[in-house]
Symmetry: C2
Subunit: 237 residues, 2 copies
């Protein structure tokens, strides 16, 4: 792992632990250079990444300060590290409801930018948090990128499998979120009533080279659907 | 305006017009240097900002590519440029429902990090899109930062007033989004029924120096509440 990534990871751990609070000033660049035994450019690269991921903010002429994620249990959809990272500290489980190779619907074709002949892995999961029914997730993976999936993988962490085993490099994600109403099937799965309100979160995951490879549609239990979004820094244009 | 910001602004215009599509490759750095009559560092700074604001993605070793905002009518809550920027091309109106100076409630104290003696400008607005009732917004501004507001300002653009007239430099924003149910008052305002589903979006706006100065709570008409969120780039930690 590149040196600056190690530094980013350690600094995130410090910020997420109780050691640092919102608005706390980070040590100077010189101090960080000594602390991490790293050159100035490496420290600057780590700080730029921490600002991009919204863990710190830079105040011109006075230094770097902690930007704390404040509310527990909110899903940070600005992060790209999977649900498990966002809900660290909570017990999460996944129950596989379906897994098969299909041809794409027009909706899937449009979102993954593929034609009707493409092979698609379709996965449907019920997700639980602390034993409570949390969401119903339908995901469509390009089989050309994700050639193999099974029940063990799908009930553990697909995200960890993609990165650790398939060595897939996720790039960025677009999310579309709106209020919807539960149909009978999803209401039954979540122990709710048809017509109950829900959040529908559609996400498109892209590889580093810009190719979309995963389109997912998640229906959330309305009592469990709390989302945290970090805005970009304003630069004034 | 700094040179790199001018370049960022022009490139965003190109990307948002129909001239460029998702995945289109940007001209080389050398070409951009000539096109904008700018040095390499200025171009690199502009490209870094465009990547941070999710208008482009960089592919190591092969260049910079357009990341297009795809769905019209979705509010991009990752942007910090106000609702008007996010819904460009739609006719927006604001009707002032209330405007007064108050002392903060415990909720406002916690979100703005102030004590009970602080003066707060409370603004309540009904917002309309293309003449349709869209959202009910309650905002709490620190009077020490926003010393004056009136009906004209509140029914035009508070955001433009803060930046253009008060020269306030917004820094970053935290958003918290969840599903809720309309109470009688807000249901009446939106021509809906009490108990109807709604999205509650709470936002905390910070100055560049990290001080929170505006806490807002917006209730959206469920048929109008569509949000677009751009995830950070994944770097693997």
């Amino acid at each position: 792992m590149a040196k600056y990534k190690e530094i980013v990871r350690k600094m995130i751990q410090n910020i997420e632990s109780s050691e640092m609070n919102q608005g706390d000033k980070l040590p100077s660049i010189e101090t960080l250079m000594k602390q991490f035994d790293a050159g100035k450019n490496t420290i600057l690269k780590a700080l730029a990444e921490l600002e991009k991921q919204a863990y710190i903010y830079q105040v011109h002429g006075s230094g770097n300060f902690v930007r704390k994620h404040k509310r527990k249990g909110y899903i940070n959809i600005t992060e790209v590290n999977g649900l498990r990272s966002s809900l660290r500290g909570f017990e999460l489980d996944s129950k596989m409801l379906d897994l098969k190779v299909i041809k794409p619907t027009p909706e899937v074709m449009a979102n993954l930018n593929v034609d009707e002949d493409e092979d698609i892995y379709y996965v449907k999961r019920l997700r639980l948090i602390e034993g409570r029914k949390f969401s119903v997730e339908e995901s469509y993976y390009l089989k050309s990128v994700v050639p193999y999936l099974n029940k063990d993988i799908v009930e553990a962490s697909i995200f960890a499998y993609l990165i650790d085993d398939l060595k897939i490099e996720p790039g960025f994600t677009d999310h579309f979120l709106r209020v919807s109403q539960l149909n009978k099937e999803n209401a039954d799965l979540l122990n709710l009533e048809p017509g109950d309100p829900t959040v529908l979160l559609e996400s498109i995951f892209f590889l580093k080279n810009g190719q979309p490879f995963d389109y997912s549609k998640v229906i959330y239990h309305h009592e469990e659907s709390q989302f945290f979004v970090q805005g970009h820094s304003y630069i004034g244009l």
